[in-house]
Symmetry: C2
Subunit: 484 residues, 2 copies
């Protein structure tokens, strides 16, 4: 199967500004030996069923054989990976710099002596923070709260928003006796009725606070108690191509902003913070324009509401900038920016104003994990050295242009091509067709993810280059044709 | 300072049944060069203040110099560690077996290719689960949900309890249209009003669900919205020594059980699950007898309520058994047992009945981390080979006996010596005296933790031996005398 991609490499050249080095030792293309899931995956799935729920499994992967943009499954099928562990693989599999970093004594000590970072951080922690998180801190946000995962990062950000809101309400005075005693019973005033607002189709996680602001799919939420007084506001549904629908889209965003401002002013429960994704990843890759986000910043600022930008899925380079919200040119920075996934380290950036009034208020045992800061530091060095942000911009632009061409050739099956950087998506006619088409892609050697009700999302590594894009595009169009 | 511990080693021998090998290359005793925090810690604290909240910091630690039961701080002070990263260090610092495991190519690949375990687990995952989690599974619980931290483990267990409860209520029928649409607005019936019951002074975490069941200290809870319909039940306050207060303690437990059963029967919101710690760690090392827990199991079973045992702090050997609840001899296993901290890997054990009705319901990106399962596997091998559970039993018994002797000599300052294995605690007269006395201990070379309002908790490694106990006891009594 490798040979079929030979001709692609001789196509007339698309102009690249940067010359990204290839991923060391990567495969030349997909190589499929069986259908996916293959017999070995099925055997392993049966084995694990006695121990752990296997129903969501796509396949078992052989991570020692996976290299760069290619994932190898238990049946030795080599697939181009455009889903990348649900958008959490920035650099590709088995990058030699990362393996080398992981095998250093410094790393081994950090992994096996995991500290309680809030009590007894390692002596190199200030340097490590400086060389990792602070290297890529969004403008205006120089403080970091470190956590273990994206949901934890978001919930800790909500807590910081609530604490800052109540601190301001108290005028900086200490807690009252009534607050301290009532909170032990989960009652007001100590456990106040305050809300976090989120947007329709948002996904922010699956713990009790984050699930309350997640609005993408019922299967995540049904049967779980939620904060019923946390409001939801509509998120724009844009028409594509954007340049042909400027007026309609502006009108749609103004409609959403009007509802938003109305909720902010009239919701019966005060709103301490809002959380918003730059592009709603799980909910269907729904975008809004910088105009929308600028207005959100203005309105939240005016009403003293914390603006939390959830960059768990969009962050760390996928937009061609370190953070997707850099593309908005906000009048003032967000109050908090949360991260995880591709950054591998999790947490949120914030201002000094959102540091809690006292110690131990936003705290836990591990407070993140230094090894993921090590990994982040190494990844930042790789991205800079290999100019991967420019690679994302250029490969992304090429990929988007080619997807638009495919859309023109198959308008009944592919629509609404959209996205920034290599964080791209398109829509399909319905869920059944999407399922069939993506299974076809996988059997032909490309692992592709979906989102929303009918969308397909691309979440390749930052090393995803034109040669990978061409392989993906050929297989995609092949699958579309076969599924017609 | 080392020399002062010389004489202790020539005391008449306490009979040991097992011969635990010493931790390789460990220090002979504490060695203090400065007060704690020393000048280098203070300098680093100032540096980190611009990046991260430093107010809870005890000291910066030099983890490459820390060995076994000894932690070395930034000022080169060597301290015997009985707090061990808030009870999360099972084996000691820099164990050669763990460092060796961490520096293997297998480990490096696992750490740098972190998988989405629910979608694309590594081919060795079933074997790894078998050799780690399943090796020490509590009786009757052979399924594992893996997570990233203790709070996430507890919240995922709550979700499993809610799903199982509603599934039973629906008689196994599929979700209704109304459930699916209402849950998107956080409203009933899709987002049901159902409760998790917890106990007074319990600590189960700090995210929105776990914080709602945490009842230890207001500083964790104040200003954060909570589930106000989740009830709290009293937890026994026992009198010591236990053998002299059998009748009073039974009466106290019966009082608590009567309130508990009353809440279960009459709480206006149905209770889907309860969560309980074998010993309430953060809340003051409050114990109950097996009688109490057996009755909890009987009552929850009778009313179809999930019993979740939170072994985040008590689990992985501190009780001298793998799990503290093994000491209760329950009539039937708990429905779920959660773990994290010392086990390093996090999650919960459960029965097949508490597996959700469909895929993707209890799910997230990473679903835990294979490297922590690797670490768990290596730690289990060390514990077995070096007979560390017996070491905990024997050292713990010795330590408790000696603490009771100190209590007799200083009855105005030390009371209620209690605990199992090396999970021990005692009370002090008040918080000011405790603060002063523990600071004195630290300056003399022992790092000790506290809990509850006036308690001191010991959380040493499983390698904590009589020689360490003697050093701790000498310094403790010295500090008590100096603080009188």
């Amino acid at each position: 199967m490798l040979s079929r991609f030979g001709p692609l490499r001789s196509l007339p050249s698309f102009r690249f500004l940067a010359l990204t080095p290839p991923f060391p030792g990567e495969y030349d293309g997909p190589k499929m030996l069986t259908k996916v899931p293959g017999p070995k995956t099925l055997e392993l799935s049966k084995r694990i069923d006695g121990l752990q729920d296997p129903r969501a499994l796509h396949f078992f992967a052989n991570y020692s054989k996976s290299i760069g943009n290619y994932i190898v499954d238990a049946d030795d099928n080599v697939m181009l990976d455009t889903f990348c562990q649900i958008s959490s693989l920035a650099i590709g599999y088995n990058h030699p710099d990362l393996l080398k970093a992981a095998m250093s004594p410094e790393f081994a000590q950090a992994v096996m002596n995991r500290p309680a970072l809030g009590l007894m951080p390692p002596t190199d922690w200030p340097d490590l923070m400086q060389d990792s998180f602070l290297q890529i801190a969004p403008r205006g946000l120089s403080h970091v709260f470190t956590a273990m995962c994206g949901s934890c990062a978001n919930e800790s950000a909500f807590k910081a928003a609530f604490m800052a809101y109540r601190h301001r309400e108290r005028g900086g005075k200490p807690f009252s006796e009534e607050e301290l005693s009532s909170c032990m019973h989960n009652k007001e005033p100590g456990s106040p009725k305050l809300a976090i607002l989120s947007f329709e189709k948002a996904f922010h996680g699956r713990l009790f606070g984050t699930l309350s602001v997640t609005r993408s799919k019922p299967i995540h939420k049904v049967d779980i108690p939620s904060f019923d007084y946390w409001p939801m506001s509509p998120f724009p549904h844009l028409m594509y191509p954007l340049e042909d629908h400027i007026d309609e889209n502006r009108k749609e965003e103004e409609r959403c902003l009007a509802v938003f401002e109305d909720i902010v002013q009239h919701h019966p429960v005060p709103i301490a913070g809002i959380i918003v994704e730059p592009i709603q990843g799980e909910g269907g890759d729904n975008e809004a324009t910088p105009f929308f986000f600028k207005r959100l910043r203005e309105i939240t600022k005016k009403h003293g509401i914390a603006m939390i930008v959830d960059e768990v899925q969009t962050g760390f380079g996928a937009s061609g900038t370190w953070w997707a919200h850099e593309l908005w040119d906000l009048p003032s920075p967000p109050d908090m920016v949360t991260f995880s996934k591709k950054a591998q380290a999790s947490g949120f950036y914030h201002t000094l104003e959102t540091r809690p009034s006292e110690a131990y208020r936003n705290f836990n045992t591990w407070m993140g994990d230094p090894i993921r800061a090590f990994q982040l530091r190494t990844m930042i060095n790789i991205v800079k050295r290999d100019d991967l942000l420019n690679n994302v911009k250029e490969t992304g632009a090429y990929l988007k242009k080619k997807l638009e061409e495919i859309q023109k050739r198959h308008p009944d099956h592919i629509s609404r091509v959209r996205g920034v950087g290599n964080f791209l998506a398109f829509d399909t006619p319905n869920v059944e067709w999407r399922t069939k088409m993506l299974a076809m892609c996988r059997d032909m050697g490309v692992n592709v993810g979906y989102c929303g009700s009918v969308s397909v999302r691309l979440r390749p590594t930052l090393y995803f280059m034109r040669k990978h894009a061409d392989i993906f595009l050929t297989i995609l169009e092949d699958a579309i044709k076969k599924c017609k």
